[in-house]
């Protein structure tokens, strides 16, 4: 069973997306802030990380940059799932090594699930 780490501070979104992923036979690890997310990523070595950007304690940009600098986690694909979409943010995230950048409000759950499937097929 593939492991997905979902780092998102909004509890409702965390629950909704996790349920869908579990229903499609993924194991879901949940983190409600960047610091916990980073720790789980190092300890549990997930197959994919879904990452929000605006979060308490450690934001998504910092998490992504640390993940990509760490030899043990740099290979893990990261899908950024956020509601920010300024050109600077998109550029920073893609330069830092994110696989895909999705603006939450513009995607259905079905489409998010499809991106997950495409990334860890």
């Amino acid at each position: 069973m593939k492991k997905i780490l979902f780092i998102e501070d909004e509890a409702v979104l965390q629950k909704t997306v996790s349920e869908v992923l579990v229903n499609h036979d993924y194991e879901v690890l949940q983190a409600l802030d960047g610091e916990i997310g980073l720790r789980i990523a190092r300890e549990k070595q997930p197959d994919l990380i879904l990452l929000d950007l605006i979060m308490p304690r450690k934001n998504g940009f910092e998490v992504l940059e640390e993940l990509k600098q760490d030899e043990t986690t740099k290979h893990i694909p990261v899908i950024v799932l956020t509601n920010l979409e300024g050109p600077e943010e998109v550029e920073r995230v893609l330069n830092a090594g994110a696989t895909t950048y999705l603006v939450k409000a513009n995607y259905s759950l079905e489409e998010v699930l499809q991106k997950v499937k495409d990334t860890i097929a």
Partner: protein, 325 residues
């Protein structure tokens, strides 16, 4: 433009109180008024200096009066600069406010969107009678998401931060897909979508997502403001330099007066307000910005209560092939 309008807009521009009200600043902090004062001081100073110079042959008095006037002008200039600064800062604060609010709105809107999707998918959770209500909630939610997206796009346009993601695409394919997607919406308004598409139109370089947005918006408008039991014709053709796209409907049309402002931000024509309450007045403003940033032109022709055509062109060989803006 009719002579009456020309005259009225000329007098409007001379009405300083009205002009300053638009900036929401007092008369003494309004650049228009301060410029007028400065001009007046300069005329008085020149005449005064001339009189002083003629009456008193003493150069020291002339120097003294010129220095005094220069100081007054310096103070007024300083106030003008400060008032411009205040207006610029207010505009920046407003743009930041829109951006923060829009991002904050997106999170709950996403939660609602995804929760409804979960409910609808899991048919056991919801009875048949409730489904239409849920669909209405979903439609309103999608409308709010579109509005927030449009506000953010306007903000980017005004900050000159709109980044086009340019790739080679087929405007024919995008248009055909849009016509397919809007068929049902047209049918509910008793309108037939008639494609007149030249299949030999070449591919071009543009931002696919944004141009799709423009095409959907223009087709949507043509249906929304078209008369029932009439066609909406969507046409694509090309010559050696550019691709021509247009959507024509039969309907209430746009008055000459409204036509002058139709591409302005937040503007909604009188006829459109009569027909449709929905609409933010942002669509055509954004469409114009996207088409122009892509190296094309956008426009319309309209005969009230007869036929209206909105059109845009795109260069076949887009010189702006790299990311710009």
């Amino acid at each position: 433009m009719s002579p009456t309008t020309q005259t009225s807009s000329f007098w409007q521009k001379l009405n300083l109180v009205d002009q300053c009200k638009q900036y929401r600043v007092s008369l003494l902090a309004c650049p228009h008024f301060l410029f007028l004062v400065m001009g007046f001081v300069m005329i008085v100073a020149m005449v005064g200096t001339n009189i002083v110079a003629q009456r008193y042959g003493d150069p020291e008095i002339v120097i003294f009066s010129v220095s005094g006037v220069t100081m007054i002008l310096f103070i007024i200039s300083h106030v003008v600069v400060r008032s411009f600064e205040r207006i610029a800062l207010a505009s920046k604060a407003k743009a930041e406010f829109v951006s923060i609010i829009s991002h904050q709105l997106r999170s709950p809107l996403t939660s609602i969107k995804w929760l409804i999707e979960t409910l609808v998918k899991d048919s056991g959770k919801i009875d048949e009678q409730s489904k239409p209500y849920l669909k209405t909630v979903n439609d309103y939610n999608e409308r709010m998401i579109r509005l927030v997206n449009d506000l953010l796009e306007v903000n980017r346009i005004e900050d000159d931060r709109m980044t086009l993601r340019l790739t080679e695409n087929s405007i024919v394919d995008i248009t055909k897909k849009t016509i397919e997607d809007y068929k049902q919406f047209a049918a509910t308004s008793n309108i037939t979508l008639v494609p007149e598409i030249d299949e030999s139109v070449p591919k071009a370089v543009f931002d696919e997502t944004r141009l799709r947005w423009v095409i959907e918006n223009l087709v949507n408008n043509a249906i929304r403001y078209g008369r029932a039991n009439t066609p909406v014709t969507v046409k694509i053709s090309h010559d050696k330099d550019s691709i021509h796209w247009s959507a024509t409907n039969q309907g209430i049309g746009i008055s000459k007066e409204d036509g002058k402002r139709i591409f302005e931000k937040f503007f909604r024509g009188n006829n459109s307000v009569k027909l449709q309450t929905e609409g933010s007045g942002l669509g055509l403003f954004i469409a114009r910005s996207i088409v122009e940033a892509s190296g094309g032109k956008i426009g319309f022709s309209s005969e009230e209560n007869k036929e209206t055509t909105f059109w845009f062109t795109l260069p076949v060989n887009n010189p702006k092939k790299s990311i710009q803006h």
